[in-house]
Symmetry: C2
Subunit: 239 residues, 2 copies
Amino acid sequence: MSNGVDSTNAPRAVVLLSGGLDSATCVAIARDQGFEVHAISFRYGQRHNGELDRAAKQAQLMQVASHRIIDIDLAQLGGSALVDSSIAVPKSDHVDKIAGDIPVTYVPARNTIFLSYALAVAEVLGSRDIFIGVNALDYSGYPDCRPEFIDAFQTMARLATKAGVEDEQSLSIHTPLLHWTKAEIIQRGIELGVDYSQTLSCYDPQGVGEDTRPCGQCDACLLRAKGFAENEIADPALS
Amino acid sequence: MSNGVDSTNAPRAVVLLSGGLDSATCVAIARDQGFEVHAISFRYGQRHNGELDRAAKQAQLMQVASHRIIDIDLAQLGGSALVDSSIAVPKSDHVDKIAGDIPVTYVPARNTIFLSYALAVAEVLGSRDIFIGVNALDYSGYPDCRPEFIDAFQTMARLATKAGVEDEQSLSIHTPLLHWTKAEIIQRGIELGVDYSQTLSCYDPQGVGEDTRPCGQCDACLLRAKGFAENEIADPALS
């Protein structure tokens, strides 16, 4: 298959795009597989907007067919350090010190809500393919990143939709990064031409807009640094 | 168990409250089962706001512990007569003429999105019980009202959350109306003291605010009329 972005007959895929390293790689993979990519991002009361700036930049660099930014108010629910500024983001000096249990950066039901909107967009666009860059290996221990969650969501989604009534195998949730290390994700992304200088993975970045810089000490920063180190290349977002 | 509304030790339930007949009955049932009720409603680009006025009224009449109205923009997705004024709501003169296939009033992934928010609220409140007034008998043929959809959502929800990581039986989606006729729903609601004069079931009501009146000819109006007729009582919302 061709890269398919401009091909009118390409099947459509809805791809969750956060502006981080994983989702940018996910867009590149969906495009490489011949899908016409329709990206969606969420403004959900993040502590910073640098992430959405990067999402818009990636959408442009990857020439996606459409990019929706959907406003949802998870902040009013509270309960997570990522949307509640009264809860501190944990910091550490080494990736091996990331705690094994569910961290305070977990946002209640976030991926469930994100995937539900993706499902609605897919149904409206006549798409049967949703891509999400979750990862079960180098990840922070969120319950809604686990393979069994994704499988269960797919089963539910097939039953939830018109397409599912007509064809029970109708809809697929693609998780190409699920079993890859961060180093493998970066390696594949570089092969596909992802510009990682325009991605932001940090849970607690400093500065605003295009000047946003990662903190270097949260789980996401530590995992990202490990991935670039294992590829023996410098993180272009830090140069 | 007592009605439990003011009891501090009552378990919390999140109840989806639309302002229609079914969800009002659902609140009464959750309360009767001893739950402290936390109601949630959605402003999702409905053609009218009379529904939300009734939801607020029901929340007050039923003395719920909290009532959240969450803004979500399904209208920007399009694709349904309920949120897209360019698509006409089908009208008929008799309930038996309701078409068997999925109607144009279906909103893509609506119940999936609604239940996902309910899941987030439940997680924040420490609740393990969600009530939704879906009905698989006297209903309009939406795929996301079917029992197999609800079962699949519950399975997914248990895997999505912190509670589910600790206890796989953690979370229940209650659907007390699932196998009842509209007449049975109304009968139970009257036993529990539901004030049906303050409910609105119509897909295409006329007027605004408290003066909103049902059209009498959409699927929802026809099913409601049949339910009251079978109980041999007049619909108090029409008096």
